[in-house]
């Protein structure tokens, strides 16, 4: 599909990743507008259902970005998120959507460049993977019906 613009959802924890995103903004760094940021108090808040629903409703890729190992403001929310992402990767492989569409990244609040780079790299990766297979089929369904 030409001109495919991936829709990316990024759950970012308030203390690290969201602040890094803010830093990227202050530094006037560019990253693709495809990335829609959702601020959460801690990555531990992000549950399997949030990621699944993002994909079900049309996101082509979802990533969660949080604090570096040991730095979580709420002790181990980032560890919980990492385990959940691993579980979901397996589940997504089993249903044919593909575990590569979900990823976890760690960064500190000052890493504006890392935030921008991660957003760029992940968007590119999803662009190469192509649109979410569930989304494509739904659109074709609607086109056939309409």
């Amino acid at each position: 599909m030409e001109n495919f613009e991936p829709m990316i959802v990024a759950f970012c924890c308030h203390y690290c990743a969201y602040t890094a995103a803010d830093m990227a903004g202050s530094m006037r760094l560019r990253y693709p507008p495809n990335v829609k940021i959702i601020r959460v108090p801690c990555l531990g808040k992000v549950d399997a259902i949030h990621i699944m629903k993002s994909l079900e409703k049309g996101a082509d890729g979802v990533y969660v970005a949080g604090c570096l190992e040991g730095d979580c403001h709420f002790k181990n929310g980032n560890v919980r998120a990492a385990h959940r992402v691993d579980y979901l990767k397996k589940l997504l492989d089993e249903i044919g959507i593909g575990g590569e569409r979900v990823e976890m990244f760690a960064m500190s609040a000052g890493m504006g460049e890392r935030f921008a780079q991660t957003a760029t790299d992940f968007t590119e990766k999803i662009r190469k993977l192509g649109p979410n297979p569930a989304k494509v089929a739904r659109h074709e369904d609607q086109r056939a019906a309409g």
């Binding site: 994909l55 249903i95 494509v136």
Partner: protein
Amino acid sequence: MITAERKPMEELIQCVKPYRSILLAGCNECVTVCAAGGRKEVGVLASALKMHFLKQGKPLEIQEVTLERQCDPEYVEQLVSNIDQVEAVLSMACGCGVQEIARRFHNKPVFPAVNTKFMGASERQGVWAERCQGCGDCVLGFTGGICPVARCSKQLFNGPCGGSTNGKCEVDPNVDCAWQLIWDRLKALGLTERYEDNLPAKDWRPGGGSGPRRIIREDLAL
């Protein structure tokens, strides 16, 4: 609680393939505690199945309902409002719940979404271990609160076998030797003389040895 684990996705997909609409029924009791079939798990499984079948080009309509329990007819009755709109039911409850739904709605195909495992307790978040096998004649008072039926691989009733090594079981080195645990507990309680009281050979009839069991409370059953 009764513990269970979700069946592999491949099996669930094959199970619901023939249908265009299903009811995915969760249970708010045991399977919620062991994170196998509660409201959250219903949500994730429904999303997963929807996406899979969307990809196949055969959209599957899923109604999500989580009952308080599926093992009581009063709760299962609540499905009456949804059941006619679907072709089949996929239940995330333990075997008891699946059977209750099948009994009540006997003209609707009902499928289990989880494999029911054992009666157990939480060791820590995310880890559940077998504690009770429903033998019907509880001896926990004699063994310091450690069950020799559920926790001893050989279900020995009067002390460890020769394979008990460093507190671990010879059948599975990840399993604690139940009789080591019993001894440690009796020692802590100052009741070591109880260790030498022999427990007689067990009558397994109350434990399911003579067929499906039933309890009737005369004061409650009208």
